[in-house]
Symmetry: C2
Subunit: 274 residues, 2 copies
């Protein structure tokens, strides 16, 4: 049976500098009006840093033993995080859709337990070459997606606009990686495509040389391309291969600084993993 979800596209738009949100929403709205069902997941990291600075609670990041970094999320940081992700950015995007006649519904992972996972209170990090443990953090990884609620909204003509935080199994708000959350949504729906839009054109062979774009990576050969990925991109590419193995037809890393970024990504402009 082909349902309303068949051919669903999940778009994750990052929260980094330079992203043209109006172009992303314009394109999503155009596709939606043509009958393309989609779910938008967004970040807001750069803006959260700005607001946290302005409120006198500057952001702090932990470097993990593996080299990755993550935001230290105490209770006050989580409040600011909620304000910017679920308040400012989420409602800004919903408003852009409403102005274009698309009935978007903005929700965080807390709402209806859309993004559910385990809170990881103790986090290992490296400081002055030593591994230390930060306790009491409000963060965790999305393990379960409330597909029923998202389907209900899609079936009734609402475009879901989703954002961290997630909810812990105990009901606490937790900071979570938006890229992983988007992958879990795409997997739950066995999506036709998962599109990651950011301020780079995709995975680059010689970062930051944008002419060195890698156009295609077979999911089975993803390890061979790891040497080109740095920092967060490494995690993104590994997550993408995992999503493909979990049933997402393809994942595209593409540019969000251009017109029609989603349409371009679906047409293969970017790095395609399948």
């Amino acid at each position: 049976m082909r349902g309303v979800e068949d051919g669903l596209i999940v778009v994750k738009v990052g929260g980094a500098e330079g992203i043209d949100y109006e172009a992303v929403v314009e394109d999503a709205a155009t596709l939606w009006k043509k009958g393309q069902k989609l779910i938008l997941v967004h970040g807001a990291s750069a803006e959260t840093n700005r607001v946290a600075e302005a409120l006198g609670h500057p952001p702090r990041f932990l470097t993990h033993p593996g080299g990755m970094t993550s935001r230290l999320t105490d209770k006050k940081t989580l409040e600011i995080f909620n304000m910017v992700y679920a308040g400012k950015m989420n409602k800004y995007l919903v408003e852009l859709f409403q102005k274009r006649g698309v009935n978007a519904v903005g929700m965080s992972g807390l709402d209806g337990r859309i993004f559910e996972g385990k809170r990881k209170k103790a986090i290992k990090y490296v400081e002055n070459g030593k591994v230390k443990i930060h306790r009491g953090d409000y963060s965790g990884s999305v393990e379960r997606v409330n597909k029923e609620l998202l389907s209900l909204l899609l079936e009734h003509g609402y475009l879901p606009v989703l954002t961290p935080p997630a909810v812990s199994f105990e009901g606490e708000a937790i900071n979570t990686d938006g890229d992983v959350a988007a992958a879990r949504v795409a997997e739950a729906f066995q999506a036709a495509a998962l599109v990651y839009l950011s301020n780079v054109p995709g995975l680059l062979e010689r970062y930051p040389d944008e002419t060195s774009l890698i156009p295609k990576i077979p999911a089975a050969e993803v390890e061979a391309f790891m040497r080109f990925a740095e920092g967060r991109m490494k995690k993104k590419v590994l997550g993408a291969a995992e999503a493909v193995r979990a049933g997402v037809r393809r994942v595209v890393f593409a540019d969000a600084r251009v017109p029609s970024p989603i349409t371009r990504a679906i047409a293969g402009r970017g790095t395609v993993i399948e």
Copy 2:
């Protein structure tokens, strides 16, 4: 036919100082688990003032020719408003529900066009005894409620937690009066009760003497009680009588600084308009 909405209670909890939100949610969660369907609408005015000050964009209020005041809402104020109402306060309340095992869904009036109304760009106000006009404001009054979406959520076991802003007919986010929005929701559902919780026990004959509580006002005689109401309370009481005339069974103004505030209000502790 008696549906899931029969006997629905709409609770509006204000954003003033002194309100015990944990007590409100604890009571709402207990009622919900007993099968009582309800919708919570909230404000966040005091916290919005604090954040606006901290961000260097202090709140400004306009005094209208009739004596009422309202928040001057320019684009920057609306952003802060969204952060605090839809981000901080809405997610705080949703989290309190999730911690108690109630699957709440927090949404602003923008989401799914839950609160829709006309943007009022030009606002008359009084300054130094002269009537002036402020243009370019982002505010307006709720005229339509998306009952279909709220019913859908209730039918599937989700407790809606709603907040301003509303959405204009053109799709813009607009600051709106939460009391009026709650009344429109209660009217749309022909609610069994509309409960206004704030930091006073109800309408007082001799404000602020809390022993002078007026226990009951027949909706038809509301004008006779207007002399006891001041400022925002005047608007609240008139709105309550209007809601009763529009089919809401009763409206109760009650205290949100006590345990079990909703249960108490439904039991008639407060000022009942019916």
